[in-house]
Amino acid sequence: MHPTDKKLTSTQMQDAEIVNERTGEKWVYSEIVKDHFFHPRNLLLEDPQEGQFDAVGIVGSPACGDVMKIWIKVDPTTDRIADLKWQTFGCGSAIASTSMFSVMCTEDGGIQLTNALQIKPQHVMERLAGLPNRKIHCSVLADKAFRKAANEYFRASGQHQRVIVEHARVVDDRLNITDKDIEEAVLEGAQTLEDVQRKLKVGVGNPDAIPEIEQLIRFYHEKYYG
């Protein structure tokens, strides 16, 4: 185990953070992030063998700049993660956060699937001693890919009641516009932010949501027309 894989005390975390004294904003990667970026744990560097894993999950798209793929092997008697490997096409933040996610799932002899499914991006970020604000967005793939892999495992092992169904998610919190709304707008022919705005008045409520909405438009456009 690498020294930085250990859970951190709050003082250690403060030491590792680099914070702009005036704005309080973290602006560069912490030492832990750099360590995981340059020495990613649990990478799958060769094609998996037949039977090596129980399930695989892939999310993201090259057009959006991130693709994440996670393989899992589960011990059926204990429900613990016996092995977890990953690959990513992504920036430093995506690589480091997935590496840390893989450590959190496999530490202490592998945690149980139920617990692993509780790991959220902010838990990974805490263990990484934070990420620069504008990079948080890039670090949210690992748990999504993992959930897909877990669902595949649940279905394959007949545990249908455990499959996690995803719901629509609010993108613009002021107008309560969800990713589903944007998907529908794209299906109705919207191609640009302006098109979607005309249909939904989205982005008028919360300007901060615009970059994400643009990515959603690109994503759904690729999905249906790419």
């Binding site: 750099k34 340059f38 560097l45 700049g65 430093g92 991006p121 995803e166 643009e214």
Partner: protein, 430 residues
């Protein structure tokens, strides 16, 4: 990792200030600190220094000193040209023409005018090398066109535009439409990246407005110039004491102007030799990287490009990850990846030349400068293959070369299939 060596290959972002420029500027901080608007001796000496700087820059641009306005940056000069001309001639017409690969310092004011001040804008597409043609420009001109803004050389891919030919075509159009040289439409060019590499003679170029700045040509940061041909009217953006012919108020940056003039004089003198040296290095580097690393795509024109610019897409790799590895080896470069931008948008220039999003995320720009040696480039060429190999081993993406423009078509069919029918990966930012 090896951080003993540092190789700065981001001269398109900014250049170091030439020590000779620093020497020229030095007296204007603590000794000659007078305000050029003041009547007494110290003020007059500052005024003289400012006049001499202006005259020096005018010699390089082959214009009258009164045709030059000092600003604080290339961005300000671009804004002043676009907003200033558009507003001054709004009574004549409200149509603007620009290109899809302009710097945001031009695109954003154009967008602002279109959104908030009732202008319409034609944004010309470029070909796969990033060029526009004079025919395209002329075809876009209308009776109500007041300004055309086409950059001289692109900051990302280095592609050089045929500015003199575009100017000639506009002049012919004006003549055919019974307009004088001093009538709209006018031609502005952003020449910030061209400085030190291309001919800045505004008579030969035939432009009406031209933007340059200090920090791209070994001068100081915080100083820009807008050339504005005599007779072209501008609405000011900054109001106050009436400096710079009442067009740009604010106490003049005397040290900056002196430094900029010194830097430009040096750049003009060294231009030819430096262009020859860098063109040779550029072509060698591009050949070598394509020979040593598989799946490399050159972005920009192969020959009509700035001598110092190398821009390639390293397929299957995300640009920011590449920059971090290069940085760990002491190499400074730039990327068009969304992950390296504040807006999360990938480079509009790489997209405009018809490359898929994946290519933009994978683009790396190396821009050489005076200090760049063949040894520096050889070092980079040694580091690149292992870094690329490692990042490709991490990546589940396998792009096919020569992908078409369609969004997402660059992904291999296997990846594309795996991605179909799924929901997006970014979720609640709790």
């Amino acid at each position: 990792m090896d951080t003993s060596r540092t190789v700065y290959l981001d001269h398109a972002a900014t250049t170091p200030t030439d020590p000779r420029v620093v020497v020229a500027m030095a007296p204007y901080f603590t000794e000659e600190y007078g305000n050029p608007s003041s009547l007494y001796a110290a003020g007059r000496r500052a005024k003289r220094a400012l006049d001499e700087a202006r005259a020096g820059i005018a010699r390089v641009l082959v214009c009258a000193p009164e045709e030059l306005l000092f600003t604080a940056s290339g961005t300000e000069s671009d804004n002043m040209a676009v907003l200033g001309v558009a507003r001054a001639y709004a009574g004549r017409g409200k149509h603007l023409v620009t290109t899809a690969i302009e710097h945001h310092a031009v695109l954003n004011p154009v967008e602002h005018l279109a959104k908030h001040e009732g202008f319409s804008a034609t944004v010309l597409p470029v070909d796969e090398d990033g060029r526009v043609t004079p025919e395209q420009v002329v075809a876009s001109l209308r009776e109500d066109t007041v300004l055309v803004s086409v950059m001289y050389a692109n900051n990302e891919i280095g592609t050089i535009q045929p500015i003199a030919a575009i100017a000639r075509a506009i002049h012919q159009w004006k003549e055919a439409h019974g307009r004088k040289r001093a009538d709209a439409p006018f031609l502005h060019t952003d020449a910030c990246q061209a400085t030190g590499f291309l001919d800045l003679d505004v008579q030969r170029l035939g432009v009406d407005l031209l933007t340059i700045n200090g920090s791209k040509c070994y001068g100081p940061k915080g100083i820009g110039v807008l050339f504005k041909r005599r007779g072209v009217k501008l609405e000011p953006l900054v109001f106050g004491g009436g400096q710079e012919q009442r067009l740009r108020s604010g106490t003049e940056n005397v040290a900056g102007a002196v430094g900029f003039a010194a830097a430009l004089a040096i750049a003009a003198e060294e231009r030819e030799a430096e262009c020859t040296r860098l063109t040779e290095l550029r072509d060698w580097f591009i050949n070598e990287i394509q020979a040593r690393v598989p799946k490399i795509v050159l972005n920009g024109h192969p020959t009509e490009r700035l001598p110092n610019n190398i821009n390639v897409s390293v397929l299957d790799i995300e640009g920011e990850a590449m920059l971090l590895y290069l940085d760990a080896h002491g190499i400074a470069a730039a990327t068009g990846s969304a992950c390296d931008s504040q807006t999360l948008d990938p480079s509009h220039v790489i997209l405009a030349i018809g490359r898929p999003y994946e290519y933009a995320h994978a683009s790396i720009r190396f821009t050489m400068g005076r200090q760049t040696t063949r040894e520096d480039l050889a070092y980079v060429l040694d580091q690149l293959p292992p870094i690329t190999e490692r990042l490709r081993a991490i990546s589940p993406v396998r792009l096919e070369m020569h992908a078409k423009k369609t969004i997402g078509s660059g992904a291999s069919s296997e990846t594309a299939k795996a991605l179909l029918g799924q929901r997006p990966h970014w979720e609640t930012k709790q």
